[in-house]
Amino acid sequence: MNQGSSTGTILEIRNLCVDYLTEKKPVRAVDRVNLTVKRGETLGLAGESGCGKSTLAFSILRLHKPPALIPEGEVIFNGEDILCMDEERLRRIRWNDISVVFQSAMNCLNPVVSIRDQMCDVILAHRNISKADAVAQAANLLERVGISPDRMNDYPHQFSGGMRQRVVIAIALALDPQMIIMDEPTTALDVVVEREIMAKLEELKHQFGFTILLITHDLSLLGEISDRIAIMYGGRIVELATSEQVILDPKHPYTNGLINSFPLLSGEKKVLSGISGFPVNLWDPPPGCYFAPRCEACMDICKRENPPLIEIEPGRQVACHLFPTPEGGAE
């Protein structure tokens, strides 16, 4: 297999746009996103509802459905553009190389098919092995996610929500993928169960060495488990840095606002202000920076020009006029 670039990049999203076609005009849900995922890392993608994070996740594997449409961009996986692949090649990549765990995935299990058969279905569709081997493999996978293989013949309703989510993760891992995209994998679960699943995922990651793209609105969770965090607002990436940098020293005013929206469990109780105003309406976006109407540091240029995502120090990107390009490009 083509191992792609030697820099340790597994997935490179270049200039990706996703539009939703509506009767009046297209609405741009993902706007010229550039994002590089390094092999073996956990990259967190955070933002509020409607910021385009799930749309981005869907479009990576071309799982988007009309009226969504990708007018431009590239998604390079191991040197190949997923957006240009034929259906058969794409089918092989899905699940085999990149698997996806969707939001409330635990409700995606077929209620009338046993866990064993659902897992074997996946394995047999992609691997040329006997049914008995597939069953053995499924048992092995269940054991890895902490579910007794004795329960293989049970149906989804016989499992709790947390266990179903672990089954879904086991299915996502069934073909030993290089990368897993997870969209709010623990949002519907209680904190204790969430913690169990995240700990299990961390352990499996060490074992198998896959890459995780974790999409969630929960910045505290990302701060704890991901290596780098990308923040999205209005379909654009506004900040990308290591978790420590994002949590302890956020640069973009939106990131700062998000972090100040979480009441903490320790320290003094103080009144938090959060972010005033409402998320950007993509039907009718402002001309400049999308965050300008809510931003306390808003300047004149912010209302006119959209700040590009620039590197302010190695590995750290921000799209904000507070941080002009080193060459003095902005003015």
Binding site: E48, R195, A199, S243, S261
Partner: protein, 328 residues
């Protein structure tokens, strides 16, 4: 505390039938021996996982479910004595619930104006149309839905989640509600919107002396908004106290587990795994169940824990725990 409680809940029990045969009936006990007080201008947070009985308690208080045993006193009167329509109406006006899903709580075919005006008409709070309009607009202003005339004409689908929750809160304000039972009012909302709602409810405590029962699984927002926290596990109140004490100095092993599970970005990498807690399923409590509800998962379980329910032990002035590790 010198304050007079507006609502007193004493030893509340609620059973639901699970299996019904011709001769046998089986019950699950959703709420067992729960007691708490609500005070004007203060908030009590009930924190716990799904199925811990938090919502059931609120629904019993708001007369949606009959209770199995225990007492609920509102301004000193047992609500079981409210049998005639007039006193039930008066009680409902004073004690209102707001829900997790503001999308489901509003009727899609009616405007915001209707949603605020309707309870005012039902409870005959206003005399004529102009008074009604004034009242609705002033409520919308109080909950931050401005410009009021424009917002009043909107339908639910034209509002964001946070705005919808403000309409629901506005309904309680319009009625002059004294006790608000808020069942996960912010968990369906985005993080930046969540704070706006919490701060609005905080203002209601100060401006209108409203008492809140704040039900949540998010112990961090409970610490932010409430004066007191009660931690529930499988229908039992396992620890109660000042919200700062409970969060900074948890004494019950379950509270400790819950707190350690909350993601904290400042403790990165230091503790991805949970303290040694048996990863067992949460038990179903039945009227005949014995022992401590947490015994099956607790790292400190003794034979006594499996046989007897620990009593509620006083640790400090306003800090109680139900665990044999602390006296009993």
């Amino acid at each position: 505390m010198s304050l007079q409680p507006i609502m007193e809940v004493r030893h509340l029990v609620k059973d639901f039938p699970t299996k019904q045969g011709i001769f046998t009936k089986q019950y699950m006990r959703a709420v067992n021996d729960v007691s708490f007080n609500l005070y004007p201008g203060r908030a009590l947070g009930i924190v716990g996982e799904s199925g811990s009985g938090k919502s059931t308690s609120a629904r019993v208080i708001s007369l949606q479910y009959p209770r199995t045993a225990g007492e609920i006193l509102f301004q000193g009167n047992d609500i079981a004595t409210f049998t005639d329509k007039a006193s039930v109406m008066a009680y409902r006006r004073k004690v209102q619930m707001i829900f997790q899903d503001p999308y489901g709580a509003l009727n899609p075919v009616h405007t915001v104006f209707h949603h605020i005006a309707r309870p005012l008409q039902i409870h005959k709070i206003v005399q004529n149309k102009s008074e009604l309009e004034d009242k609705v607009y002033s409520v919308l202003e109080k909950v931050g839905l401005i410009p009021v005339e424009q917002t009043a004409k909107k339908y639910a689908y034209q509002l964001s989640g946070g705005q919808r929750q403000r309409v629901c809160i506005g309904k309680t304000l319009a009625l002059g509600t004294e006790v608000v039972l808020a069942d996960e009012p912010t968990s369906a909302l985005d993080v930046s919107i969540r704070l706006g709602i919490l701060n609005l409810m905080e203002a209601m405590k100060e401006d209108f002396n409203t008492a809140f029962l704040y039900i949540t699984h998010d112990i961090a927002t409970a610490r932010y908004f409430t004066e007191e926290i009660a931690v529930m596990y499988v229908g039992h109140m396992v620890e109660t106290g000042d919200s700062r004490d409970v969060t900074s100095n948890p004494q019950h092993p379950y509270t400790q587990l819950l707190l350690s599970a909350v993601p904290d970005p400042h403790k990165r990498g230091s503790r991805i795994s949970l303290p040694e807690v048996e990863k067992k399923e949460i038990p179903t409590w039945r009227p005949e169940s014995r022992g401590c509800p947490f015994a099956s998962r607790c790292p400190h379980t003794t034979p006594q824990c499996r046989e007897q329910m620990p009593p509620l032990t006083k640790l400090a002035d306003n800090h109680f725990v139900r665990c044999f590790l602390h006296g009993g």
